[in-house]
């Protein structure tokens, strides 16, 4: 492949790619994202390739391994095009039948269809699945149309059009103006206006400027950046090149977590292909503009998502943040002006350039524009990635798209914003989700994690979880964060283990103020949010732990006992076998088993194994 040296050549190539493709040719698209692969999707992919070969259909049927469409709960996912027949939970054993019946004859295989959990109705076509119906999939939607390891697939859906438009029709200032006008705010957590950041970086004194893509998605519970980098890496690369042109940078870095091996691989492939096509490197598309990208892998440190810590790590140093009296846009990597945006932010850029800032600004709320991808996980029926316009209410996301809480349990709260965010109660379900509304109620947008909890989750335990997480991830450079989190974790541990005292709740609140006021970086200043919001919205649960030494949700081990509900126990003995400490005794058939509280270590093995609900946690 010769390098493309003009926008015309790019368009010619695109036309020839599209011309070669017959939109009516059957195509089996299989999700190759980490979620589906974890569900043995690899075997489904192999099975399809083998079956197509066995039936000598190589020229008649395409097989495309795509990025993650988001509906991980139901993986492995297979969509048969052109009809868009949607099969879920596909196993390798289903493959021969799918090829013979659906691909060749168009017959539907009923057992592989998705049943609507509320109506039981089987849904045949992908766009009609309620999980997708209410979404607005501007960013993530392309994931399922392309094979992320093939640049031609990205070109076929209009890839790199925005780049060509920018390089040959817009000045850097015009690009910045467009991004500012769009109202795009950073998707990584802070929500800083992207265009303003670019402008500041462009105006910062100095000749060398760096561009960074933050794919160090450390927020436990969020995986949209992983999915985009795995599923559509070229959209991120294109966004970065446009940003580099606008800001005046020639070297870019993608900082990606090593826990995301597939994202690392696909980003590498994308960069290499873009270089081969002349879309990266020297004299991009013959415009005279140079830009190249390198990949750096992180080592599993949450704090490295913080911009100055990330840059320290890029320099080969320990990933500790610094006080940002001088912002990284002025003095960042190697003390040069550096512009860092996260994956999802970069992926928005080509869209804004292609469709225009005015179009983009129509979507969302007055101060939060566009769509946002949320990772809807935890105790919710349809888990996965959800892209919706800013301003949709929590209720719509969790109940309409997410399909509500499994097993008829009661909704308790939803954690937004990851460890730096807060847990919001049922009374706030009608809150429109945007940057400012979430901040107002003590939480934040963060990178878009949305973790749903039901009545079986204990909020004090969750607060302890986040504080322990942050304690472990605190780099230890500043005292309020290092020592404050340790103390908070100790107090929370005492509360969850029955040693809570009157005044502990107030002490937590006081300590929180110290962290908020005195910490060096956002890890520390936002760390108390999970504690403060849970105290604010679920104070009675804290009080139950402290005063009554009870865990209402039945989670905190030291405060609960396991009990056999005799009326429900038929003495099947499953729990007897499961118990690792022989605390349960078999009393004969049809007689309830007996649990010895002295021996019980409260591991929950019996509870998990009992299919009849005969074990209670009190």
């Amino acid at each position: 492949m010769n390098k493309l040296s003009s926008p015309d050549e790019l368009e010619k190539l695109r036309k020839s790619i599209i011309k070669r493709r017959d939109p009516n040719k059957p195509c089996v698209t299989i999700c190759g994202g980490t979620g589906c692969l974890a569900l043995r999707g690899e075997r489904v992919i192999t099975a399809f390739n083998q079956e197509i070969k066995r039936q000598r259909l190589e020229t008649k049927v395409d097989v495309r391994v795509t990025g993650c469409p988001g509906f991980c709960e139901r993986g492995p996912l297979v969509v048969i095009k052109p009809q868009n027949i949607f099969y879920q939970r596909v196993g390798e054993e289903d493959v021969p039948e799918i090829v013979s019946e659906t691909v060749l004859k168009g017959n539907i295989i009923d057992r592989l269809l998705y049943p609507d959990p509320n109506t039981g109705k089987k849904i045949i076509y992908e766009p009609e699945v309620p999980f997708y119906e209410k979404q607005k999939r501007l960013i993530i939607g392309n994931n399922e149309l392309i094979d992320p390891t093939t640049i031609d697939d990205y070109l076929a859906v209009g890839g790199y059009t925005a780049l060509s438009k920018v390089l040959f029709g817009m000045s850097p200032e015009e690009v910045i103006g467009e991004v500012k006008k769009s109202g795009l705010r950073g998707r990584g957590g802070g929500g800083f206006p992207t265009g303003v950041k670019w402008e500041t970086c462009r105006r910062a004194p100095g000749d060398t400027r760096y561009i960074i893509c933050n794919c160090d998605e450390g927020d436990p519970g969020a995986f949209m950046d992983r999915s985009l980098m795995e599923g559509n890496p070229h959209s991120v690369v294109e966004g970065m090149i446009i940003g580099a042109y606008a800001i005046g940078g020639h070297q870019g870095y993608v900082y990606v977590r090593n826990e995301y091996p597939l994202a690392v691989r696909n980003a590498r492939i994308a960069i290499k292909q873009a270089e081969e096509y002349g879309l990266l490197g020297k004299d991009i598309l013959g415009s005279g503009f140079d830009f190249s990208i390198r990949i750096n892998r992180g080592g599993g440190a949450f704090v490295c998502g913080e911009s100055s810590a990330l840059m320290a790590s890029l320099e080969g140093k320990v990933g500790e943040p610094r006080a940002k009296y001088v912002h990284t846009v002025e003095k960042g990597l190697w003390d040069k002006p550096t512009n860092l945006n996260n994956v999802e932010t970069w992926a928005n850029i080509p869209l804004i350039i292609n469709r225009g800032a005015d179009w983009y600004a129509e979507i969302g709320t007055p101060r939060s524009k566009g769509t946002k991808i949320f990772s809807l996980v935890g105790k919710v029926n349809n888990t996965g990635l959800v892209e919706v316009p800013m301003g949709m209410t929590l209720r719509e996301v969790i109940f309409d798209i997410g399909g509500g809480i499994p097993k008829g349990k009661k909704f308790k709260g939803v954690q937004t914003g990851g460890p730096s965010g807060g847990i919001l109660p049922e009374s706030l379900l009608d809150l429109p989700v945007d940057f400012d509304e979430l901040t107002k109620v003590g939480s934040m947008m963060g990178s878009g994690g949305m973790i749903v909890m039901d009545e079986d989750n204990c909020v004090v335990d969750i607060a302890k979880y986040f504080i322990s997480f942050l304690e472990g991830e605190s780099c230890g450079k500043c005292v309020p964060c290092r020592e404050g989190l340790k103390r908070m974790r100790e107090i929370l541990t005492d509360i969850t283990e029955g040693r809570g005292e009157e005044g502990d709740i107030e002490l937590l609140e006081r300590l929180s103020t110290v962290l908020i006021d005195g910490s060096l970086c956002a890890l520390g200043t936002t760390a108390p949010n999970p504690v403060l919001t849970t105290i604010r919205y679920f104070r009675d649960e804290y009080e139950a732990h402290v005063r009554d030494k009870k865990c209402p949700a039945g989670v905190c081990k030291e405060l609960v006992t396991y009990q056999i509900i005799e009326e429900k126990c038929p003495g099947c003995g499953l729990c007897v076998k499961a118990c690792p400490v022989e605390a349960i005794t078999f009393m004969g058939k049809k007689k309830p088993v007996v649990l010895d509280q002295e021996k019980c270590i409260k591991c929950g093995a019996c509870y998990d194994v009992c299919k009849l609900g005969a074990i209670a946690i009190k």
């Binding site: 998605e217 320099e315 935890g378």
Partner: protein
């Protein structure tokens, strides 16, 4: 290190590759890295100990990673971890005496929709429950 043009900025990536090769970071290799890159050994050591993913001790043949991300946590990941600890008679961070398994925890691998997730030797197992632990580990016997 030639792959990275002896670039100090690629230290984390270099250590990742070494660990992938040896399963841990042997002392003599760290000394060599420091010499070749011209970076002080203290810097190499501080980076090697700062990041969670690195180990200075030899590890088992199969690395078990139990995800303790939030989504996994709310679905009972701790119980699964405890079940594995009991089954292998080691604590998180430990290695079995026969050097077969090393048990570690990780804060989110991005498979949140499938939690609780356990990864053994690079294979992902989603929707784990305590009663599946024994059978799962026996696969690696």
């Amino acid at each position: 290190m030639d792959n990275y043009q002896h670039d100090k900025g690629m230290l984390v990536s270099i250590l990742q590759d070494i660990q992938a090769e040896y399963n841990y970071l042997p002392e003599e290799v760290l000394v060599e890295v420091s010499q070749v890159l011209g970076a002080p050994l203290s810097q190499v050591y501080s980076v090697a100990t700062f990041f969670k993913a690195f180990s200075l001790e030899p590890r088992g043949r199969y690395l078990i990673n139990v995800c303790l991300g939030t989504a996994c946590h709310v679905r009972g990941a701790v119980k699964v971890l405890e079940a594995i600890e009991r089954e292998l008679d080691i604590k998180a961070g430990g290695t079995t005496k026969d050097l077969k398994f090393t048990l570690e925890t990780v804060n989110c691998v991005g498979c949140c929709a499938l939690g609780p997730v356990v990864i053994i030797g690079g294979e992902y197992y989603g929707q784990m429950k305590t009663d599946k632990v024994k059978a799962l580990l026996e696969n690696y016997a």
